[in-house]
Amino acid sequence: MLFSALSDAELVARCRVGDEGAWNELVERFSRYVYAICSRGFGLRDHDAEDVFQEVFARLYGGLHALRDDGAVKPYLAQLTRRLCIDHLREGAREQPLEEPSGSEQDERLERIDEALAVHEALARLPEHCREILDRFFARDESYHTIAAALDLPAGTIASRISRCLGKLRVELEGRSDLPEPSRKGGR
């Protein structure tokens, strides 16, 4: 069974009947998203981010039977993670006041994370060598040297391979209408 080929709704349905492989894939599929909301969206430190991360998946697992729409697991996770992050920040603020970002700044960060997830979903549809090289270089911050050694490639070819794979990713994204509108503010 190739769980990565299943839709979110199919995975949730399988998780509900106790399919551990489906649960592994569901965690794998959304772990970066939940982590990014905690750490980049709300700036939680690792220890707090881990608490929220585990709480999110524990609640998802415990609440699988109560999900109203199996296909809407992503917005469910987004909402749950945001709520738990806010609770965590409020609890922490009782002991140590913190500078909270403005609402619009927060919304903008979360929109960019949604957009990043859509790009990662497109990345998942690329050939494995492209997925691997783009993920290692950009998301895992590995050097050309490390990537070359891991993938048994000449180090001098890594930059051109990255560029070619980014081109393929752009083609994959073109014409897709279900992507969040690219946010143009910041970071360009």
Partner: protein, 84 residues
């Protein structure tokens, strides 16, 4: 979708690094932890002293019981105990 130039794509890929491996692995182990959680909750329901010890120091009580208090187990168990 011409807005996605190389720089923008790179930034968006960078936004989603993987969490530490142990975090995802712990979350993936939840189904296997379920039996342990059910057993502990049943014992807590039947044994007030055990329940009190769990609530006072969950991690230490788990260790005394011979169970490794992984973060995912602790979080899931604490959540279940809140409803007992």
């Amino acid at each position: 979708m011409t807005d996605y130039d190389e720089q923008r794509l790179a930034e968006l890929i960078r936004l989603l690094p993987p969490p530490p491996e142990a975090w995802a692995r712990a979350a993936q182990e939840l189904p296997r932890a379920r039996a342990t959680i059910d057993e502990l909750v049943q014992r807590a329901e039947a044994d007030a002293e055990f329940r009190r010890a769990l609530l006072a120091d969950l991690e230490a009580t788990l260790e005394l019981t011979g169970i490794e208090p992984s973060r995912s187990l602790v979080v899931a168990l604490r959540r279940r105990l809140d409803t007992v």
